[in-house]
């Protein structure tokens, strides 16, 4: 249990998707104009990461990795399908996003209309695929750990986008040099936030 908490906290603060690995920057920059929309997108990312990382974990460990197909019988013990990783992961992600979209549309039309176009966009958000690929690289021991990592990364991304959106709402009233306005200053603020987040690096978990 302690392990799970530490993986969760670690993936929120120390290995933050945005500040440590720059994943999901495109939607991070494009959608962070107002706090409301960024809360919606952030929630959707937590949701999708929390679902796709565990599913891809199962896929990796029971189908793709070397010897993972052993449960089919001894003939399959040596099969190594790891070269199919990318295409399988992205297929799962695209399918899950589609599924999540349909489920939300059916059961909560208000949430659906507030998320709007962001849901389909999540399929090409690199934070989602990145989550699955990091999960594969770090060899988590079991499904619970992978889930904790997925949810934690989502929460970290959520924090980052809500933070930058709040700052951008305020900075509209500041006198930024004209060429830096909009995109430029957002980059620099993100850099400064990243430096702030680096202070978590020393924490041993």
């Amino acid at each position: 249990m302690e392990d799970l908490v530490s993986i969760f906290v670690r993936s929120i603060f120390i290995d933050n998707m945005v500040f440590a690995y720059f994943l999901g920057m495109c939607s991070y920059l494009a959608v962070s104009r107002t706090v409301n929309t960024s809360v919606g997108l952030g929630a959707a990312v937590i949701f999708v990461l929390g679902i796709t990382v565990p599913i891809n974990y199962l896929l990796e460990n029971f189908v793709l990795a070397r010897g993972a197909l052993a449960w089919l019988g001894p003939r399959f013990a040596e099969v190594d399908l790891s070269f199919l990783t990318f295409i399988m992961f992205i297929a799962i992600i695209a399918a899950m996003v589609q599924l999540v979209e349909m489920i939300i549309e059916k059961f909560s039309p208000t949430l659906y209309s507030s998320l709007g176009i962001f849901l389909p966009l999540i399929a090409v958000n690199c934070a989602i695929l990145g989550g699955s690929l990091f999960m594969q690289e770090r060899n988590y021991a079991n499904l619970a750990e992978a889930t904790a990592f997925g949810l934690g990364s989502g929460v970290g991304w959520f924090l980052a986008i809500v933070g930058i959106a709040a700052i951008r709402e305020k900075i509209r009233y500041s006198n930024v040099p004209a060429p830096l306005r909009g995109l430029g200053i957002t980059f620099i603020i993100t850099g400064l936030m990243g430096i702030a987040f680096m202070s978590f690096m020393g924490i041993e978990l």
């Binding site: 690995y21 297929a91 695209a94 399929a123 060429p179 430029g184 980059f187 850099g191 400064l192 430096i195």
Partner: protein, 219 residues
């Protein structure tokens, strides 16, 4: 019919096609202006070497993906086009990944997950959606190469600045002369840290928009 004839007569490097190639380098740059595909620019530019490998990989994937989607554009049903596009890109990225693993294994290890993340690089999806689905293979190819090159030069610029200032090397060779160190020059270790990549790109955007006032964000 006459329209078709006109298209046939158009030279391979007609002015329109040249524009496709050169616009993304400057005022239509995918990174500085369209803000697409930022993730990898920031994460893998600690060294020039990784930046070069990444830039070449993206040029290859993007040129080919644009051509393939453009060839298939009349047969892809619009409803499932995103999955088709992702499948094409993912297959090309698998090829690139295997090639990198075979020929430059150490760089491939350094790039780690970021080779895979070319799949979700929004420039590629963006160009497929915006250009390749409506245009013929040759213009699509030029558009792909142009945009990938626009992405590539920013990647190289950031990688160059970060490696030079951060570790005093280029491509792994020392370029800062020894006497400067003796005079008290020190490498700025800060440049190697992730946040400095963001600030470097911010400065590049600043310079570009200072020179080209049309790009200034007035909102």
């Amino acid at each position: 019919m006459s329209d078709k004839d006109n298209n046939k007569k158009e030279a391979l490097f007609s002015p329109r096609n040249q524009k496709l190639l050169t616009n993304p380098l400057g005022k239509d740059n995918p990174i500085n202006v369209q803000v697409l595909g930022i993730c990898s620019v920031l994460a893998i530019t600690v060294q020039l070497r990784t930046s070069i490998v990444m830039a070449i990989s993206v040029v290859a994937v993007m040129g080919l993906a644009n051509v393939i989607i453009s060839l298939l554009r009349k047969t892809i049903p619009p409803r499932i086009r995103i999955i088709v596009q992702l499948t094409v890109i993912a297959s090309l990225v698998i090829l690139v990944d295997q090639v990198l693993k075979a020929f430059v294994y150490d760089v491939s290890r350094q790039l780690s997950v970021f080779v895979g993340l070319i799949i979700t690089n929004c420039i590629i999806m963006g160009r497929l959606e915006a250009f390749a689905l409506q245009n013929k293979p040759w213009p699509s190819f030029l558009d792909g190469i142009g945009n990938a090159a626009g992405y590539g030069w920013v990647l190289l610029a950031v990688g160059f600045a970060r490696e030079l200032l951060g570790s005093g090397t280029l491509m792994g060779y020392n370029v800062i002369p020894g006497f400067l160190y003796e005079m008290g020059y020190e490498d700025n270790g800060f440049m190697i840290l992730p946040p400095m990549a963001l600030i470097t790109v911010g400065v590049i955007i600043w310079i570009q928009r200072h020179k080209d006032r049309d790009l200034v964000d007035i909102s």
